[in-house]
């Protein structure tokens, strides 16, 4: 049994303009100690997926309309509020993109790290403080006993993110959900933080759900990858499978529109034409069809199911794995090749 199983998760928001299907039928399994990356552009539903797992969807206007989230055999969506509070921060912890807005400016960093320990582990103030110093030391903050008494504004951006990681890992959670944890950081600091996460994962065996738009970060961290588009999962598989034999035209588009600095020649960037759809007005059929150079009549009418193309590698495209879909070659109705 997997550590976390999510099946057919649907999260919706009711707005004045209509119902937004932010997450529309997402399924995956996370194994102990593994890293799953959820990739997608803004508005693809990756953060809402994470918030749904944590039951952090504000209701109203949001609602988890369907699906299952099972943590070690226990249904998260059926838990009482008290049980959910006991789970958050203890069994599943989360770190966010902007560490400044997630730290409380009026409390000392050490006190904030100790908060989860006092609540979940029933530690005294003194025990929690001592453990907070240990955690700061573990995440590589120099002179930890002293820095634990600092306020967040006295930390640099990279140190704040380290403090957030210390806070998230203080209770030894089974799962760490990291929502764009390095997007606000410079690359040299990003490298430090990713390295730290990998090292702590190896030491503590924490499973990680990494939410990001950066395919480089995905390649660096992920065992498995889930690609999302307009609230739906379009591709899912091991990192090697998704990077080396991607099956969905959207995934191709993402990979081909990325400038690379590790390849000798300057390739031509092949952008995905058009704009991502509004979630209130998702195109009928496959949501990607208006931007897909391979779209056929069926794509405009029927929404493709996620299906297995190779063992363990799934894609939601009518033509994935068939001869009519060859990367970089578009067969039009007139039989022409672009």
């Amino acid at each position: 049994m997997a550590l976390l199983e999510v099946s057919d998760l649907k999260t919706q928001f009711t707005t004045r303009d209509g119902v937004v299907r932010a997450v529309d039928g997402v399924s995956f399994a996370l194994e102990e100690g593994h890293t799953l990356a959820i990739v997608g552009e803004s508005g693809s539903g990756k953060s809402v997926t994470a918030l749904s797992i944590m039951r952090l969807i504000p209701d109203p206007p949001g609602k988890i309309a369907a699906g299952k989230v099972v943590l070690r055999g226990e249904s998260v969506l059926d838990m009482s509020d008290a049980d959910v509070r006991a789970m958050r921060g203890d069994r599943i912890a989360m770190i966010f993109q902007d560490p400044m807005t997630s730290l409380n400016p009026v409390f000392r960093v050490g006190f904030q790290i100790g908060e989860a320990l006092r609540i979940h582990k029933g530690m005294s103030r003194k025990e929690a403080d001592a453990r907070a110093v240990e955690m700061l030391d573990l995440v590589g903050i120099p002179n930890a006993p002293h820095r634990a008494k600092d306020y967040p504004h006295q930390f640099s951006g990279g140190m704040r993110q380290r403090a957030m990681i210390a806070m998230a890992l203080a209770c030894d959670p089974d799962i760490l959900i990291a929502d764009e944890p390095t997007t606000a950081l410079d690359v040299t600091i990003q490298a430090q933080i990713l390295e730290l996460m990998i090292e702590l994962q190896q030491r503590k065996g924490t499973a990680i759900i990494m939410i990001t738009h950066d395919l480089g970060v995905v390649a660096d961290m992920a065992d498995d990858v889930m690609v999302m588009y307009a609230g739906k999962q379009v591709e899912y598989g091991s990192a090697d499978a998704v990077f080396y034999s991607p099956q969905h035209p959207y995934t191709w588009g993402l990979l081909d529109s990325l400038p690379r600095h590790d390849i000798d020649e300057k390739g031509t960037l092949l952008p995905i034409e058009g704009q991502p759809p509004s979630l209130i007005d998702v195109p009928p059929g496959c949501a990607f069809h208006p931007r897909c150079p391979y779209a056929q009549a069926v794509c405009r009418e029927t929404c493709p199911e996620l299906r297995e193309i190779e063992p363990g590698h799934m894609a939601a495209c009518h033509f994935a794995g068939t001869d009519s879909l060859v990367r970089g070659r578009v067969a039009t109705a007139e039989g022409e090749v672009r």
Partner: protein, 343 residues
């Protein structure tokens, strides 16, 4: 091709205190601290570096949105710092700016037609009818529907707004366009559209770009020459190929090694240089080489003597006492040990 822009010893300090009597006592932020570079006509110079390295301040000084503290800026024979009144306005017709934030840089109360032709109105060029015709032409050039001329910015997505900003910058047929992080707020698929558009426009109108960005891959893609900045200094500058294939400065090397590439197998085997610590404060930058506090090969000399930019290969300069081509075996060299052998 001749040099269109020549910058010598550009310095920009900001006072940390706004008060009346504090100016002499207060500390200065050394945002840009003596940089020199040239931009050739028709090329793209990439300015790359991490936050606080002074790349945006440099861009703003070039068009006098900020007044430089010292240095000379020569634009096609014109001394930019001496310009006043009418002459400054004339200069600004030739040099335009594209901003990072497509939301904050467009006035929400103006139609996109008004936005795109505002530069013409400011410079009193053309009749209203002519401006309107020009607006449609410009929208078409940047790939927007000219019929949308009466719409407002909120009706457009981020990528489309950035196209509007680009159209505005082209209205006066400039020769030099400063692009300050023009694609960093955009999603990957849209980012590629805008990069390709900038490339096409350069070919079409013979534009010269100064392209400011923190994303090394984007800068490599669009630039002919690249300058890497660290704490207000240029540490390495050269043609894109030489700089990316054979970076000579340890900062450039660690920067390049820190960017993860979308290739899991490569990521697993790549040697990475993880720099320790944070960038020091530009209020009180380190003595000697500014990078010495984080440099894996720093020696005594780096603590007290500042390295000058020197030629390390044709069209390739680096400011490091120990500059040598990749791979410096950085991992093997602990700070302050036998790096001298590596010279």
């Amino acid at each position: 091709m001749g040099d269109l822009l020549r910058v010598e010893g550009l310095v920009k300090y900001f006072s940390t205190d706004q008060g009346l009597i504090a100016s002499r006592l207060s500390k200065k932020v050394h945002a840009v601290d003596g940089i020199s570079f040239t931009v050739r006509s028709g090329e793209t110079l990439g300015l790359v570096g991490e936050s606080g390295c002074g790349k945006s301040t440099t861009g703003r000084c070039l068009i006098r949105l900020l007044e430089p503290t010292a240095g000379t800026i020569d634009f096609d024979g014109i001394d930019v710092r001496a310009l006043k009144g009418r002459a400054l306005q004339e200069f600004r017709r030739d040099v335009q700016f594209i901003f990072q934030d497509p939301y904050a840089s467009l006035n929400p109360r103006m139609t996109i037609g008004e936005i795109v032709t505002e530069p013409l109105a400011v410079h009193r060029l053309g009749t209203p009818q002519e401006r309107r015709a020009r607006a449609k032409e410009l929208l078409d050039v940047v790939g927007l529907n000219p019929e949308h001329i009466n719409r407002y910015p909120h009706e457009f997505s981020g990528g489309q707004r950035q196209r509007i900003g680009i159209a505005r910058s082209l209205a006066l047929k400039p020769r030099l366009v400063i692009c300050d992080e023009p694609v960093s707020a955009l999603d990957v698929s849209i980012q590629a559209q805008v990069i390709n558009l900038l490339d096409d426009l350069q070919d079409q109108f013979g534009l010269t770009y100064v392209f400011i960005a923190h994303d090394l891959s984007v800068v490599r893609h669009i630039s002919d020459r690249v300058a890497v900045m660290y704490l207000g200094k240029i540490v390495e500058v050269g043609g894109w190929q030489g700089l990316y294939d054979e970076p000579h400065h340890p900062y450039t090397q660690s920067l390049l090694s820190a960017v993860p590439v979308p290739d899991p197998a490569k990521q697993r085997t790549r040697e990475r240089i993880i720099l320790q610590g944070d960038v020091p404060s530009p209020i009180d930058p380190p003595n000697g080489c500014r990078f010495h506090t984080r440099c894996p090969i720093a020696q005594d000399i780096c603590h007290h003597q500042e390295p000058e930019l020197r030629q390390v290969a044709p069209d390739h300069e680096a400011a490091c006492h120990f500059a040598k081509p990749f791979p410096i075996e950085l991992a093997a060299v602990a700070p302050g040990t036998e790096a001298a052998d590596a010279v």
